[in-house]
Symmetry: C2
């Protein structure tokens, strides 16, 4: 990418919002647990070992950001389920891209599980930047372009 002021490039728009939604460590771990099917306050608490006040705060923030929904459970009105909304589920590609980066560049011990296609159990591909024809693009093969219909 060519030199230009950062706010003219990736900035100025959607990225900081995405970062705020999941950049905070606990919010991110809650999201991850949600993707694994955890729904109840007590289960988040037991799984993550997070303080109750912090958990309550982060859950309500994720709800107000539209990433989790807060639903009363049929038949037991005292219990509440926190479930990923479509907006929340749509964070998965970004989360997996981060995970694969961490695996490639190390640090922690390699995970003993990999994400796979549920149809044939073959591992998923590395998340990549792709052209319309499916070619993988590196950082030097992309550029900024004015959106259609803008001067």
């Amino acid at each position: 990418m060519t030199m230009q002021r950062a706010e003219e490039g990736l900035g100025g728009c959607a990225l900081p919002i995405a970062l705020e939604a999941m950049g905070e460590r606990w919010s991110f771990l809650i999201l991850r647990a949600s993707l694994d099917g955890i729904e109840h306050f007590e289960d988040f608490q037991a799984t993550l070992g997070i303080a109750r006040n912090i958990l309550a705060n982060r859950l309500s923030r994720l709800v107000s950001n539209g990433i989790l929904s807060r639903e009363r459970i049929e038949g037991d009105r005292r219990r509440v389920a926190y479930r990923l909304t479509p907006k929340g589920r749509d964070l998965l590609p970004a989360m997996i891209a981060l995970r694969q980066w961490g695996e490639r560049w190390g640090g922690g011990p390699p995970c003993d599980k990999v994400l796979a296609d549920a149809r044939d159990y073959a591992p998923i591909r590395p998340i990549a930047i792709q052209a319309q024809d499916g070619r993988t693009l590196g950082p030097d093969e992309i550029c900024w372009k004015l959106r259609e219909g803008r001067p």
Copy 2:
């Protein structure tokens, strides 16, 4: 994905490291500026409007994490350039995935620029989870599988 304890799934491995590397707001904005070609302390400072002590702290953290390299400039030994390492450049798919998510789900005003293939200026594809054969996989079409050679 099926219900299981979070640390058996996405957790336990590489993800928290990736998050630490770029989850902090300023570190993330520095990374973004680096991808736009910014290299010098003063240019980061002017572009991001960040306090000098915070900038110095974050730059040295990114260097010690192996995401930026610190290089003396030929011919002017007082000046230093901070450049993305291959490890740093490899964060781009995750950053673009987050950006696209932010654009899809709104919040800020839409950016007037889009990322495009430098060869034909066609916009890049949405970042997606893909099977080995290139099919796009949704959250319900993936599963965890033990890594080859593990019990």
